[in-house]
Symmetry: C2
Subunit: 218 residues, 2 copies
Amino acid sequence: MDDEPRSLLADKTPFPDDLDARLRAQFTFLVEVDRLKTVLRQSPLAAADRRENDAEHSWHLAMMVAVLAEHADEPVDVGHTVQLVLLHDLVEIYAGDTPLYDGAAGLDQEERGAAAADELFALLPADQTRRMRALWDEFEERRTPEARFAKAMDRLQPLLLNWMARGGTWRTPGVTADDVRARKALIGDASGPLWAAARRLIDEGEARGWSRSAAPGD
Amino acid sequence: MDDEPRSLLADKTPFPDDLDARLRAQFTFLVEVDRLKTVLRQSPLAAADRRENDAEHSWHLAMMVAVLAEHADEPVDVGHTVQLVLLHDLVEIYAGDTPLYDGAAGLDQEERGAAAADELFALLPADQTRRMRALWDEFEERRTPEARFAKAMDRLQPLLLNWMARGGTWRTPGVTADDVRARKALIGDASGPLWAAARRLIDEGEARGWSRSAAPGD
């Protein structure tokens, strides 16, 4: 993190001075999070030849929650789970995206994420700072059925995009089908049927050569 | 609408034949809605020099619901309101975006939207087709506090982006500040404080010349 205070998007066109202070803080945050639309992920879209951004990804997860919640092993509150996925990547506005198959970048991911959460959520009125941080912590800690299901969607969504792309990030150099299975196993913490379907897609992708089978000695 | 059956994204890389039928229908829908990421709106992003797409827009509305729900004149269920905004633009996948200030295009918008909803939601298992359609109808009809608040967010979000762009679509030829006030008045059906703030931004934008004041005889 820099020592310099970060310049905010809202500073470019400041809101009128007489705007209510609480609303000004909320609008400032809501403008700042526009940056999520510019954080690119590794995943290729199914509908166009470009990479996905974090805002699109978060929206897609929320749709998946609404459609797939019935497959959760423990009942989940759909509205609450949707809120978890909507904000789970917000900290990447300041911390950046960490590709799933980049082991080194993952090492300090937690620390960078927490610092980014502190900075971003502090733009809100204090009561909302606490509430957003609690939701973000809930997602990260995966101690509730909702958080486990939200995390499962975060793993399943790029798997569907990789399937559509006939490989996608499964083709990352050095990554094997077993690596994919290991990274996706969190789906099984939330839903037996979805984990079975995910494994079916991973197995079939490996059989078709869209991911690399581990060679002897790997 | 064409008479030819529309080809689906999922047809490009069909799921394995032995996938459970209900899951296959749900995955097919969830892949098809990837198209929302390619439907461009008129609004310019605050964070980058490009237009916004519908998936990003829908995500942004959901964040606004989570942060601004306290300003609703009638209490709203945040989780339910978030679900309304997440799917409110889905039908544009097949019906296209209708710019707010394009009066002619708005005429058959309702009819095209309903036909697109029928086609898109029919990809889901029948019980979910009905549920999604009910949510979409709820948003369109604005008879619940949640639907009115969702609609208010749909009007307020591009207003914030236009403010940041110092005009944005307010500069559309033929559009006056009074047109903007008229199109945004739905915000007032959901929240007095948010409508007051919106009017303040519209008034200030007009004073700064970011929108056109109605000339005598207009």
